[in-house]
Point group: C2
Chain length 324, copies 2
């Protein structure tokens, strides 16, 4: 199995990627890594026979627009994706800008046969620790019912093979639980999902129930999916910030915070959306995993593990079969 | 000034409404209340010359669909709204089901001249305590750009007159801050808002920034507004639940929780979306305020105060002027 690793595009530079690669390769002796980046920053990797360093002189920064993808052909991100295009690797991992990375995938990778639209999938932590896959979270501002139907199948196949859920419950994000809720696209999607015997559709789900963990896959149009994801992230962030400030504003509160430190940290980890590992890009012929821009070595390694698992379990092929 | 009060449709029955009415009328000697409900439950109100009891033998329960509105003509909710239709009151307050109450308003009240669509507005608490008005949060599954433009004006007028914000900052909820983000409706809305000299438009806002408090009014189509509102509510609820459970799972945590109790309660109040007072229905010729279904007497009284403030400040007339 072969993975391409973009070493340069994250907020924390190449060092965390180098650390992650070394740790990863020591665990997985049968995997080959193609690491793209400035070779002088990657010298620590040259001792490993399973690691190939691909020199890339440019970096696509977080602040650059997606158009920079076309201009910076020598960037580590484009070069990593080109390895996918050329069939040299089975998966690609980056912690660069989501927009740029997705654009790279759109430009250079083939879509799975029969899939009209690829999309972004996020795995969110839930109350019951099972987690939930939400897709599309923003690749497309508009979707047709047939696209959402494809997303349901891909999310379902992924959840079975990578998350180990036998018969994933699939729901449609909507403004009410009744069948006729939402606009035409949502109503049409409801019917398609209901008739689709390749998934286990359980009906509509409302925004307030996303994090309950009652369902495993939530299908949504890219616009409201993006709004939902970011509203959840924003609320979690603001609440944690307020808890900290509120407790620190009194002596009793400070003492309490000190005592409850472990409990609060555990919770912070659970709901730290940054550590979930970012988004997956589904619908392409390769495993494409986007680690969070602020990933540390551990988070980046998790993203690599995810890509490997997708390749090992042959997720792309099974998605293709599921969509037939 | 005259308000119609639906005494029966909330989760906690008529007693909290009776308590709220007595407290309210003792403060506002110049207001007349028309209270609809089972007269035998409202006897405590009969001593007040400013309170008129309108006997209503039916109740629209929370679980009944919106179609029940047409069937239950003798319900306290329909009778309260009819007082609005007949011009006997300036505002109507209920803590019944949002869907039913909104349907009542749609059926029986006139819309403000020139307003094609009425909508639901929620005021959310923010990090900086200023709060933010979000509209539409679900009255319409689809909106046109011209509707969103009207919502911006109504939200802005309301924020100036009732919330006391001189030049409310208005933003459009979108999946990115750039002008061209979103679908056709959002792009067209962006242009209308930019050119609208009756509001102070500051651009797009993303889901994760809703609760920051940087803007005062957020305009959104009813579908994604509903998803955003409920995602925020759900996240806040799950997080507070997790904090409690996490702290209670260890002795140190329990001690900490005891010490930090005051800080945590203050926060719970701040982000308790149930206590914010529910939603306002804007675009009608009357002040229509929907208190939360689980309102206690204090929360219901707050909703009455809001309705009164809207009438006193002549919000409906000023919205009409703003829309010309």
């Amino acid at each position: 199995m072969k993975l391409a690793i973009d070493a340069m595009s994250g907020d924390l530079g190449s060092s965390i990627v180098v650390e992650a690669c070394i740790h990863f390769i020591n665990k997985h002796k049968d995997v080959e890594l193609y690491v793209t980046g400035k070779k002088e920053e990657l010298t620590k990797l040259s001792d490993f026979s399973q690691i190939h360093i691909i020199d890339a002189r440019e970096v696509l920064t977080m602040s650059e627009g997606i158009l920079a993808v076309r201009r910076k052909k020598e960037s580590s991100m484009v070069k990593a994706m080109m390895l996918g295009k050329e069939g040299k690797v089975d998966g690609i991992v980056s912690c660069g800008s989501t927009g740029s990375f997705y654009t790279c995938a759109m430009l250079f990778l083939k879509r799975i046969e029969g899939v009209e639209k690829s999309c972004l999938m996020a795995i969110l932590p839930t109350y019951n620790d099972k987690g939930v896959a939400l897709l599309d979270v923003g690749a497309n501002a508009e979707n047709q019912a047939s696209h959402l139907n494809d997303f349901a199948v891909m999310g379902s196949v992924y959840s079975t093979l990578v998350r180990g859920i036998k018969k994933p419950k699939v729901a449609l994000l909507n403004i009410g639980t009744e069948e006729k809720k939402g606009n035409e696209v949502h109503q049409e999607t409801y019917q398609l999902l209901k008739e689709n015997d390749k998934i286990h559709f359980v009906g509509n789900i409302e925004g307030r129930d996303i994090l309950n963990g009652d369902v495993d896959v939530i299908v949504t149009d890219g616009f409201s999916g993006n709004i939902a994801l970011k509203s959840i992230e924003g609320t979690a962030m603001i609440l944690m910030k307020c808890i900290k400030e509120s407790m620190m504003s009194s002596t009793k509160g400070k003492l309490g915070a000190l005592l409850a430190k472990d409990s609060l940290y555990a919770l912070k980890d659970k709901f730290d959306y940054k550590s979930v590992g970012g988004a997956l890009m589904v619908g392409f012929e390769k495993a494409v995993v986007k680690a969070h821009g602020a990933s540390d070595a551990k988070a980046f390694e998790n993203a690599m593990e995810l890509a490997l698992k997708m390749v090992e379990q042959d997720v792309v092929f099974k998605m293709k079969e599921g969509l037939k």
